[in-house]
Symmetry: C2
Subunit: 571 residues, 2 copies
């Protein structure tokens, strides 16, 4: 603040001139003193200037409704919603979100630093403040071809920006606890800011080493004892509740009356439709309080605990100098957000988004750069009878299994076998026209015909297609290229449904409502083609995820994700 | 940490090589998870490397004793103990103190930046870590002549040092809430670090403005409602329990199960003898728990809450990467510290101090620079009958009252009147040989003879002497100059007792035990001369404190501390 401006605000705080706005008769949820009581909050130029009785140009009489700080998501990949930041805001602001700490991991895998810069730029002037953790694991493994590589040097380059809150989840946790210099250098690059962890199931001595190395948080606990051990070792524990990873119910018993400041809520990955229908951090607060957590502790975790951990100055509480980011609700028990305010301005009411549209930020460059598209490239010649390694989908889980099967053959080639649900899976490198193509087989999709394709394919986000025949697989790739990335359902050469994701092949440029409708249409098309999976495109997008067991397919071929090495299709 | 060194520690954490030391069978007070449970803590090279079972070269079997982080004082003027930092450590380490956040306000008033540099240097390599808040109000007012002036520019110069934790108590709180540029510049100078407040009794709108300006803490609350208001407005509240200001009992009810992270314990000013006999922060923890506060909350306030507020990295908890600063005790209820460890080394046991002596830091330059010493200079000529303004001491309080009295006269001059307890009070400027002398009268000391003198005299620390006759007053000044500063009791020209304070005229160069004995001797001498005050030299030292009502005497004469202006002796 300029001195003049501060002096003007001080005179308002002293009561010498009227404030812009007074939120009168609030039942203030004071997350600093841990109390709820009646008072008034004076706001000027986006900030709280005083609590108590003040004159103001505009009076907003809350008539005893609860006034709390806006909610904060401690760890989120905004790309997982397939929404631009502005459409994401449209989804979550009515649910009371005021700040998100994001890790643009997928953007960085496709676009590198340009992806991070795009997020920084496109997340300005929105009714949600975005703080960014710098992706630390790009590419995730050497077994797939990503669009970029982010080094410790790159992190050092960007860490100084005031909206950069630190270094994002260090997924290579063995690298960290074993003391790999590359990983320690990334921690060193984040010195003075936050270092986020990612250590699913890590316990005992190796966890001690992971913390000793400088990692400060974790959002991967799926068991209570695991989260407790992490908390005891000094990690800030993020209780995750996303679209698929739902750990909140398991972890709420972690919180006692002495440790709420060391916990946050996080969604990690959450789909647009779920954000709209179920909610965002408000859903976490509701769920936790329903389980018996005190509303004060739940709201502290959703606000000040997260703001302090990530050093988000002047966010997370309602007191002088804090930003006037408020939510208004009528029942502490139900906690349904009725109004959201950003810097004192009403930005959502009764589910309706009211914020002004900021200027559109130009899309980043095209990221569809394929060399191979012809169906002939996906042929699997069979020289002799052999059994092949098939990826088996485990419903509702991110892990896969491997099983062996004899292929169905056609003219000396292994082909999709609809009867046994063994379908061809193709991954085509799309970043640097290497021509890399991985071909394998997968069980679990149950397509009777057609093909499903996606350019969202963790973590390198190459093109991944599953299909009942090579022609539709080829057609899907063709369509994805035409759309500049996206998701598509093809049947007998025709597009049944599609969602263009021209922003990095990850994110739609369409409005929230249209994105949700198109996703529903894609799922319906997949179902019509016989697919029984709950979220077929999400399942598809995880089939390349080489760090997670057991068997994966990337552009470099089949990956044995247990032994972490390449393997052959035929056993 | 160097990468090599970190890698070596990681291998210890992984259990591949033995740690230096294992604290076995601890009842760990885990202030991060808010739990107490049995475990072991492995320590290497001063840091905790792991919790759990580890091999170690040395086993320290705690046999179920409690192991907690060392205690932290959030606000202390180390000069108030009149001890060097190393003798202060000798006093408090057996009580479990591991870190103090100090404001070398008195050093700075006498020596300016050199005083701060002296504290920085002389507080290294001790079993207590010192973090320093930069004095923000030197001189305290324009109504006394201090040894130095500290500007916002000076603060900017020093703020970068990693042991500088921020800007110390902004005592000119009207200046802050009224938006004086000089004060706002001091806050701006501390940007990114902590800004301590000092706002006794400040409430309502002006308090809102004080917080809005950027002040982050306060340690001056004497009433519960005042502290509550400050906490609600976002201030970190330090519960003070010093030698004379004892606010803890009043303020403990402030703490509920949602706000302990926003509170600290502090002593502000505490005498050497009290530190030894009563204790330091351990006394605060004991007192708070006796009042019903949960031991966990009390210990959190005494450790992690303070460490986090002042951003003392790796202090305040027991977990990997934290410094191995421990206390050991046997009863959670009694909390008597049995052992203190600093960076894994035993530094006190059963009240005995065991730390190695660091190299002695050379004393700062002499600070006794007086021009006037002759008794003739203290004469108060009376031209006509008039009533004079007398300072009245209020026992056990820092405020004074003013009352009017007709002087006893001798040869046309107003002199001390032992019968009515109206004694002459003299303040002589000692920093820059201005020759300034202030002469007034005070009631409350009840000296029947002799004089008491001190070079500790808040905030400018000029020479202050009260006496039954001018000869002994002159003799006291002579003696103080000879000692290069100190405190002295003179009777009939003889030194009855004295404590040399050659370091800035504030601090003794003698060992803890001798300082305590000499203070006791000074008090005994004062008592023998008729003084009934509990701490006569402390009372004397506050008679120049020009910001505090009602009437004060400085080297510039009588100060009306209500209207904040100079006033005349004769009404």
């Amino acid at each position: 603040m300029l001195v003049r401006e501060l002096q003007r605000k001080l005179s308002i705080a002293r009561g010498e001139r009227p404030a812009e706005r007074l939120f009168k008769n609030a039942n203030l949820v004071n997350v600093l003193s841990g109390e709820i009581y009646r008072t008034h909050a004076a706001v000027d130029d986006g900030r709280v200037v005083g609590l108590g009785d003040y004159k103001a140009k505009q009076i907003i009489d809350l008539k005893g409704a609860y006034l709390a700080p806006s909610l904060i998501d401690g760890h989120f990949h905004v790309e997982s919603s397939m929404l631009t930041t502005r459409e994401f805001a449209r989804a979550v602001v009515p649910h009371g979100t005021g700040v998100v700490v994001i890790d643009p991991h997928e953007y960085a895998n496709v676009l590198g630093l340009d992806g991070i810069r795009y997020v920084l730029e496109s997340s300005k002037n929105l009714p949600v403040d975005f703080f960014i953790m710098l992706p630390s694991c790009v590419p995730a493994t050497p077994f797939e071809t990503a669009g970029a590589r982010v080094t410790a040097e790159d992190l050092r380059l960007m860490i100084g920006d005031e909206r950069i809150a630190g270094v994002a989840e260090l997924m290579n946790y063995p690298g960290v606890y074993l003391g790999a210099e590359s990983e320690l250098a990334k921690i060193e690059a984040g010195k003075g800011k936050n270092i986020d962890g990612h250590a699913p199931g890590l316990r005992g001595r190796n966890l001690n080493a992971y913390v000793l190395a400088g990692v400060q948080s974790d959002h991967e606990s799926t068991e209570l004892a695991e989260a407790q051990e992490k908390l005891r070792l000094g990690m800030h524990v993020l209780l995750r509740e996303g679209s698929t990873e739902r750990n909140l119910a398991t972890l709420v018993p972690l919180i006692n009356s002495h440790n709420a400041m060391n916990c946050s809520f996080a969604t990690d990955d959450k789909l647009a439709g779920d954000l709209v229908s179920e909610g965002h951090i408000d859903h976490c607060v509701r769920k936790a309080t329903r389980m018996g957590l005190s509303p004060m502790a739940a709201l502290q975790i959703a606000t000040i605990s997260t703001a302090r951990h990530y050093r988000l100055r002047n966010f997370g509480a309602i007191a002088p100098r804090y930003w006037a980011d408020f939510i208004v609700f009528d029942s502490l028990k139900k906690l349904v957000v009725r109004q959201s305010y950003k810097k004192g301005i009403l930005v959502a009411e009764d589910g309706e988004y009211l914020a002004a549209e900021p200027a559109l930020v130009p899309r980043p460059r095209s990221t569809m750069n394929l060399r191979c598209q012809a169906p002939g490239d996906f042929k699997v010649c069979l020289k002799r009878a052999a059994r092949m390694r098939v990826i088996e989908v485990v419903p509702n889980q991110i892990v896969t299994r491997q099983f062996l099967a004899t292929p169905r053959t056609e003219g000396g080639q292994a082909v999709s076998d609809v009867a046994r649900d063994i379908l061809k899976l193709v991954v085509v490198e799309r970043h640097r026209a290497t021509g890399n193509v991985g071909v394998g087989f997968v069980r679990g999709f149950k397509l009777k015909s057609g093909a499903l394709g996606s350019t969202v394919a963790h973590d390198a986000h190459n093109v991944v297609v599953v299909g009942a025949n090579d022609a539709d697989i080829g057609r899907a790739i063709e369509e994805l290229v035409k759309m500049q990335g996206g998701q598509v359902a093809i049947k007998e050469g025709r597009v049944e449904a599609e969602l263009g994701l021209p922003i990095a092949g990850l994110v739609s440029d369409r409005p929230l409502k249209e994105v949700i409708e198109r996703i529903a249409a894609l799922n319906a098309a997949a179902r019509a083609m016989g697919c029984a999976l709950e979220a077929p495109f999400m399942t598809l997008s995880f089939l390349s995820l080489s760090p997670i067991p057991e068997l994966r397919l990337t552009d470099q071929g089949l990956i044995d994700a247990v032994r972490m090495r390449r393997t052959k299709l035929f056993a």
